[in-house]
């Protein structure tokens, strides 16, 4: 029975996701082209050194970017190519858009994945401990450090870590080396500082969310009942309280993972020289690289929708009372 309504629900959500992705594509496609800027703007500085004919340079660059033809023609061409699986050519990096994304997503993924997992593990444990020992010294210390973790800007923490551990102590390289194989200990080692940088804020947030969700549930009737039944405290906390508290946390963690494409680790990537999708997408925006901007926006929108769907499905397993029919 469950299988039927869940399958129907998934099909409905997938169709909706495709429609939303198309809408996002169309809106993004139009927005990036109707803006007042020209892809030639950034070249004006070069012109100044060589004294070329400005109008001619602007016309040449706009022709290369394909913005010299009507927007509806550009849109039709784009959709036709997309139908053939061609996401276009990135003019700011000189490679096919899909190849660009395929090459660089892994750098963002490993960073965000490791940071999220580590932050979730530590943050949730501290959050549980803080909630169970509310208003104890440990709770105050955890709260104090959580607020610090939330308040510290990534770019500041990253630079400080580099100055201390790389420049002063010489324990790590000052930048991420893409020459090191991805699946190696050396790669894990060079990810330590970026993961701390990105994970600190996440961990602090998870600690706060967990503490708050646990406290909400600790006050509920079913906890008193469980304790009255004589269940061990570990079972009450682990099996009853935590299982109810984890639902909102799942949503937050999944959205953090979903930020891989959208550039959730942009600042950390910038500081440690990690060539991830965060850098790629931000640079594409400033370079008027329309093909990349549209692709990254559409893919991230679709990914977020899928993560949302997976989160909803996960809920039904964590709490069998939840139904979407």
């Amino acid at each position: 029975m469950k299988k039927t309504w869940l399958r129907d629900y998934i099909i409905k959500r997938l169709l909706l996701a495709i429609f939303i992705a198309w809408a996002v594509l169309t809106i993004t496609f139009v927005l990036v082209r109707v803006g007042p800027t020209s892809p030639a703007d950034k070249y004006l500085a070069n012109l100044t050194a060589r004294g070329q004919d400005a109008a001619q340079v602007v016309a040449a660059i706009e022709a290369r970017y394909g913005v010299d033809i009507p927007i509806y023609e550009q849109y039709i061409n784009y959709i036709v190519n997309l139908g053939r699986g061609d996401w276009g050519w990135s003019l700011s990096t000189s490679m096919p858009v899909m190849e660009l994304i395929k090459t660089h997503w892994i750098y963002s993924f490993q960073l965000i994945f490791l940071s999220s997992i580590l932050a979730a593990l530590i943050g949730i444990l501290i959050g549980i401990y803080s909630a169970v020992r509310q208003y104890s010294k440990t709770d105050y210390i955890a709260t104090f450090f959580s607020f610090i973790g939330i308040s510290i800007p990534n770019f500041w923490l990253g630079v400080m870590l580099i100055l201390l551990f790389s420049v002063k102590l010489g324990l790590f390289k000052t930048y991420y080396d893409t020459g090191i194989p991805l699946f190696s200990l050396a790669n894990l080692q060079q990810l330590i500082l970026p993961v701390i940088t990105l994970g600190t804020g996440m961990m602090a947030a998870y600690t706060r969310y967990t503490r708050s969700a646990m406290l909400d549930n600790l006050r509920k009737e079913f906890v008193r009942t469980a304790r009255a039944k004589g269940l061990p405290e570990r079972t009450v906390i682990g099996k009853h309280v935590f299982r109810n508290a984890i639902l909102p946390l799942i949503t937050i963690i999944m959205f953090d993972l979903g930020s891989i494409v959208f550039g959730g680790a942009y600042l950390t990537e910038i500081i440690f020289g990690i060539p991830g999708l965060g850098q790629i997408s931000f640079n594409a925006i400033f370079a008027d690289d329309y093909a990349v901007v549209v692709a990254v926006t559409v893919i991230s929108a679709f990914l977020i929708l899928m993560i949302n769907l997976i989160t909803d499905i996960t809920y039904t397993y964590l709490d069998p009372r939840i139904r979407y029919d």
Partner: protein, 571 residues
Amino acid sequence: MEKLKILVLLSMIAILITGSCQVAQETKGVYISGTSAGDAETLNWILAADSASLGYVGHTLDSLATYDNEWNIQLRCAARDVEVSEDGLVYTVTIRDDLKWSDGSPVTAEDYVYTLKDLMFSDWLNYTYQSDWQEQVNDETVFVTPEVVNKTTFTITRQTVDPEFIYTVRNLTPYPKYIATKYEGDIDAFTQAPEFNNLTYTGNLGPYKFVEWIRNDKFVVERNPEYYLGKDISAPYFEQYIVKLFGTPATCHAALEAGDIAYAGIDPPHVAKFKAIERINVYTVPTTGYLLLAYNLRDNGWEGLKQKEVRQALSMAISKELLIEKVLFGFGEPAYSFIPKPSPWYVYIATAKYGVEPLLDEEKAKERLLETGYATQRADGSIEVADKEGKPLKLTLVTNSGNDIRENVGHLVKEELSAIGIEVELKFVPWATELRKYLMNKVPGTEQELGYNNGPRAVSEEPWDLMVMGFNTHPLSPSGQDVFYATQGGLNFWGYSNSRVDELFQRIKSEEALDEGVRKQLYAELSQLVAEEQPVNFLAFQLANAGFQKNVKGIEPGINMGYNYHLWYFE
């Protein structure tokens, strides 16, 4: 006595031989050059409009010639310097006969002529810098005419004389005709051609060969053992050369400090720190960049700025030395025109030096404003700056946000002008806004499209009076600055017009200027004229600081420091 003479002669010969020949060095190490200036856009260089792309390709592909720090020509792919006919119309180029593409076929004059005629001059490729190869003939824009003479020689013929065209010719690099013809006429295919995007064709044309380019991360090349200039001396001497990109100057500096990279440019505030580090050499070198304070001479700028004496008065109130000390941390030189000190055409004597003593004087500035009617004299003799109606003078200064140096110049100008009684309102706006709202202009009430210089009646959408900007000039051919200062100049945003300036720019590009002595005189008059006229306040030429690990040897610090980088080595 005779023996002594022979001994002296032999010694002199020995000194000459050892002095003129480069000694081969041991090849070792990976040279990592750090930069936070942003990544290249393409390795298909004919499509590039950014300097990073041309820089990357330059490691694998030499031009016909380059220059040392004193602007002496250094031959690269050219066998001898470009020969110019007496009438200045025909340029004869002879290339070396040992240049090869990657498939082993020789690089010929045909490749160069093909690159010009069928690629750069074509209407399907949209080559950005076509105007470099065009001239005005009977009010028509036409291309120059390249022709193959023989396997290693070709000519480029002009119909009009331009003595500075030779610098464009010397900068030429070729595409391999045997590959490029496959993509001819198809811009998409050409843009995506794997040979051009992976530099697989460059043969022995550059000191390094392409290895990989990871976008936003690094560009890697390896030693080219076939390099034509390295045959006898086994150059270059680095196993690999990597351009490593950093997201911020701070992290790039940290990498240099930690010894993770061999080179990084150092921002002025950090120079003292790096100079104190034992294992790092910091070289301060001239650049071609200058800062300026532009005056809006169009109808929506303060009308006083149209008078030369008012512009001079404002320039007399702004100290260039203070600006260099406070904003550039001492790494600058006062500018009096757009011709930099390292240029062969630079003139110091007899140029009006506004902004340094004795032409730095608040009282004289006020007196000059009084003479022009923009001040009133009180009974006690003091002068109060005001507009023609006697109201306090308030000017708007605009610059692009996010550029610390320009913003700080804005603050300093505000302080300096307030000392003579002029209030300055600062507006820091994004570059795209500055470009569209303040620089681009059109004649009001017309359907004219926005342009960079739409004639004397055109104005920008938003009014402004002063603008801090930064330009680059070419020391060998500063006449390219006519785009800013000639009446018809394509980037004459501010509407400056002076017939004598226009005439001098034209004469520098005419037959009479083939004589370098005459050209020097013309440049001297031009720089004296703009220094006197103050179309803009030329503030300062910036100096750059290059930080190297001390074990990098062979560097010759100067404006073209990299000209001999294939001879650099690790100790």
